[in-house]
Structures are given as C-alpha cells and as structure tokens.
Amino acid sequence: MVLLETSHLTKRFGGLVALRNVDLAVEERAIHSVIGPNGAGKTTLFNCITGFLIPDTGDIRFSGSSIAGLRPDLVARLGIARTYQNIRLFRHLSALDNVLIALHPHIHYSLLDAILRTPRFRRAEQAAEREARELLAFVGLAGKEFLTATNLPYGDQRRLEIARALALRPKLLLLDEPTAGMNPYETEEMIRLIRRLRGERGITILLIEHDMKVVMNISDVVTVLDFGEKIAEGPPEEVRRDPRVIEAYLGRGAASGLGPASMPLPGEA
C-alpha cells in the first residue's frame, strides 16, 4: 500500500528549479530516506508535502487523496507530522505545553466549555495531558514535563520535537535530519527510537539524513535527490553502489580511492 505519493512534482523559486518532476512513493509502514547534497531539494520536498509551499506542477497524494496546495494545518490534521532540521520548538513553553499544542486537533470542546470549565472541558484536558505525558515518556522525557524547552539538553530537544510531532497522531512522520549534531551514542538511541515508532506505533517514516551510517542502518528504501531531480531509488545497498549516486553524493573517492587527478582548472572547462 502506498501511503504517500508525489508525481511529477516541480517547484521553482524564480529561476532556480528546486524540484524537477519528482516521483516518490512511500509505502505504508516503511522507513524511507531521502538523501542528497545540500540544495538538492530535500527540504523543499518536505515543505511541499506539508503544505507550506504550493508545487508549480505535479500532485501529492496521501492515502489516495490529493493534498497538494492544502493548507498546512489541514495537512497536519490528515496525519502528516514533521520535525525540523534546526530544532524549532516553542522555546519559551514547557515540554508538556509543546506537546499539548500539537494535540490541538484532537481536543474537542467549545469556547464556552473552556470558559465555564465544564466537565467536558475537564475530561478533554485531562485526557490530553495524560496522552502528552505518555508521549513524553515514550521518547524518554518522563519527569521533564515542566522544564522549558530551551533549557533541555540538545538531544532531549530533538526527542521533544518528535514527541510533539507524535501528538498529532500521524500516519506519516517527516524527520528532517533527526541525528544532526548528535554524538554516536545519541545517534544510536535515535535510531532505536525511530525503529520503535514504526514497530510500536505503526508510523510510516520519511526522513532526510546526511549520516550515511544511519541511512544504511534503518532505511527500507533510499531516494537520492540531486539538483531537484531524483537520480536513484531503491534498497540502501543498491543505492550505495549506484555510480550516479557515488558521483553526485557519496563522492567519487569512495569508488576510486583517488583524489582529483588532472582536472581542468575552472574557467578553462
């Protein structure tokens, strides 16, 4: 079953083509990685999927229905959550509040309920808080509910971001470089967490990652973007041996073991 599918997705910024005819299919319950050099269009892809950018042409289908151009909050309500490359928490709010905010679509009471503190309000708030605490515990932040987001250590902030994304009860989770800036130990933990997300919660995961070790380790499928175009796709082992991928991303050195030999100087070319 394909959960998310983009077809002929193209996005231009002025003269720059950030995405060109990208076809991507993310299978349900897959861990799918997108790799590629900086500027390859990975984050643009995420922004198109989450509704922050409207693609110029092409379509994005989620669970069979088109979501291209849908407002971001509606995309989120459909079950697509994301994290950010440079952590973007609600910095002055507590960890619990961060998660509660993302539970927003799942809390149901009217303004009047809130003003009068009706039983309905209390029930909903209590349930929300319980769920938020569970999520924090799930990512390993139990006991840190009331610390302000900025005051959490780096690794905890990354985890809080994931807990917040989970609060949307997503079917699809987009992770933008979840292990960036982590030491090998934290990275290891993050990999385990990502596996648990799929295993225990059945969430499909699409991630951008630079750390090849992580990519090779957890991905079912790897898609390689370069200059906005998909240049390869397949199981990690296969992709790693793909000559185009080696040339564009992994580096030719990986193949030949030699440095640049007699390349023409720039300008002469």
């Binding site: 394909v2 599918e5 077809s7 002929h8 193209t10 005819n21 076809d23 299919a25 922004n47 922050f52 950018l53 409207i54 693609p55 110029d56 042409t57 092409g58 379509d59 289908r61 291209a68 151009g69 849908l70 407002r71």
Partner: protein, 356 residues
C-alpha cells in the same frame, strides 16, 4: 504506482473565505474611488488651473516625503527595521533650526544674505537631525540588535515619544512661525518659489545620496551590510560604523527635509514629525521599502494623490469638506499597500520576512 499526468495547480484551494473578503473590500474601495473620480470630472467644479495647482503642490509636498522616506528606506535596507522615530528626527532638525532662523531674521542677516542663511539653516538642521538619529541608534537600537523583532520596534515607538516630548519640554508646545526667506517669496510661472526651492533641494540631495552610495567606500560598505551583515564583517567592514553612517545620512536628509517643510508650511511644532513621518513611511512602502528610487517615486506619487485625491475622489459624491479626508486617503493607501502589495510598486524589497 499510478502516474498522474502533470497537473497545473491553480492554487485555488489556498484562497479561503478570509482572503475573498479582503479582496472584496479592496475592490469596493477601488470602485468607490473610480466612480467618485468620474462623477467629479463630469461635474466639472474644478478648472484645469486648479488641478494643475493641486499637482504642483502635491509634487512639492511629495518631494519632502521622498526625502524623509529615503531615511526610512535606508535604515530598513540595512537593519530590516522600521525606524519609527524617524519622523521625530525630521522634527528635531526643523524645531531647532527655528531658533537659528529666528536669530538670522532678527539680526537682519536673513535679508542681506538670504542664500547663505538658507544654506546655513539646511546644514544646521541636517547636523542636528543627524546627531539625534545617531544617538537614537546608539542608545535605543544597537543594544537590541539580534533581539526578536518586536523588541526594537517597541523601543522605536518609545524613542519616538521620548523625542517628541523632550522637544516639547525643551521648547514648549506652542506653534512657532518660521521666518519667510525674502528671495523665495512670490511665484515663478505657475510655481511658488518655495516649491521650486524644495524641488531643487530634494533633487540635489538625491543625486548626492546616490553618488555617495555608488561611488564611495562607505557607500559600498553600507550596501554590503544591507545584503549580508555577517559576510560584510568578514570582508573587514566595520558593521557598527556602516550602520551609524546609515543613520547619520538618513538623519541628515531628514533634517534638510525639515527645513524645506518649514519653508512650505512656515511653522513648526513638536508634533510636526508624526504625520510626515507616517506618510514618508507610506511613501517608502509604496515604492518598495529598501529601494531608494522607490522611496523617491513613492513620495511623489503619495504627495500628488494626497493633493488631488480628496477633490477628485470625493467631490463627486458631494461629500462635505473633502479635504479633511486627505490623511484618510494616505492611511488607506498605506494599509492597502501593506495588504495587497507589500513589495511596493517597484517590486523590489530588500529582505523582509521569510515565510518559511
């Protein structure tokens, strides 16, 4: 995997009701203005000479807006902040120069050497405004560089009120009558001589400004800082100094504008900076904030619209005392531009908010 044919998105789904309402209001206003203009022109209450006078006055007025707007635009271009106190910088020069003008007038020097006096007044006003602008930057803005956007904005509002009421406290709240400059009395063809003086003054200042920015090392530094503050620092540009220079130049022009304004309206008061300040800001946004020629064009356009607008748009409806709505027009233009075309008429906008 099904491959859908490439599909062109109209973006239609992104337009929600809220936006439709906004567009509706905008359309309604345009219709009102358009209809009113037709009605007015058909009624023919005004002669061609009257329209011409409106336009001439509008241009003179607009030229002053342009001069103030340049300061807004430069500061915005470099710091990405609205120097809310810029109107008060303009006021401070004009207010202070009153005393020089008054002295020159009473000593008879103004009569015997009108040109020297005028230039002295312009320079003096420029220097005062420059000092005020630099002080404001140093005290109220520099320590807050890099703070969240709301913070320098609030200090700017604070600085604006602080300056207004400082000048009120120093010099009193009364209106002071500026002495008239003898050689600028009377008319030349259809123009008041003061209007010509204003226009020439603005033109010279503009040319000098462009030369400064394009041809000098300090100008290059300012342009570099405007584009990328950090990269400029890595080139050996003293960023603080470039920013101070920006404030100084903008302040100097505001001071000159202050004297020119006083020549046209022959009076000064502590509150005089507020309206021209807002209107100059409107001019800057109209032309695309951060864009120097834009500020000049925006100033002229605003001045002319403001001058002919009340009669042209509203007279046809038989609205009483339409001239009172002059400022309403200016503010409406401001709001409309911010809503519908925040990049301004000339399109370009240095920086601004990143949406993502």
């Amino acid at each position: 995997m099904t491959i859908a044919a490439p599909q062109r998105l109209t973006g239609g789904r992104r337009i929600d009701i809220s936006q439709l309402i906004v567009w509706g209001i905008g359309g309604l206003l345009l219709t009102i203005v358009f209809l009113g203009s037709i009605l007015t022109l058909r009624a023919g209450h005004y002669s061609a000479a009257q329209w011409r006078d409106f336009i001439v006055f509008g241009i003179a007025q607009g030229a002053i807006y342009a001069l103030i707007a340049l300061g807004y635009t430069m500061v915005y271009g470099v710091l990405r902040m609205i120097n809310f106190a810029h109107g008060e910088v303009f006021m401070s020069g004009a207010m202070t120069t009153f005393f020089l003008a008054d002295y020159l007038n009473r000593s008879g020097f103004l009569k015997s050497h009108p040109w020297v006096s005028l230039i002295a007044m312009l320079l003096f006003s420029g220097l005062v405004s420059m000092t005020v602008a630099v002080l404001v930057e140093r005290i109220a803005y520099r320590p807050l560089r890099g703070a969240p956007r709301l913070v320098p904005l609030i200090t700017a509002v604070g600085a604006s009120f602080f300056l207004q009421y400082t000048f009120r406290g120093l010099f009193g709240s009364g209106v002071r009558a500026y002495p008239a400059i003898p050689v600028l009395q009377g008319k030349l063809w259809v123009f008041q001589k003061t209007q010509i003086a204003v226009f020439v003054g603005v033109l010279i200042t503009l040319v000098l400004l462009v030369l400064f920015l394009q041809r000098t090392r300090a100008g290059l530094a300012i342009r570099a800082v405007a584009e990328d503050r950090e990269a400029a620092a890595l080139m050996g540009v003293d960023v603080d100094r470039a920013i101070v220079t920006t404030f100084a130049v903008g302040g100097f022009m505001a001071g000159i504008a202050g004297v020119l304004y006083a020549l046209v309206f022959i009076q000064v008061q502590f509150f005089m900076g507020f309206l021209p300040g807002i209107k100059a800001f409107t001019a800057a946004v109209l032309g695309g904030i951060g864009n120097l020629p834009g500020a000049a064009v925006g100033g002229l356009v605003l001045g002319v619209i403001e001058s002919i607008g009340p009669s042209l748009f509203f007279d046809g409806y038989g609205i009483r005392a339409a001239h009172q709505l002059k400022d309403v027009i200016a503010f409406t233009i401001l709001v409309l531009i911010l809503i519908f075309r925040p990049t301004g008429l000339l399109g370009e906008r240095l920086g601004g908010e990143e949406r993502l």
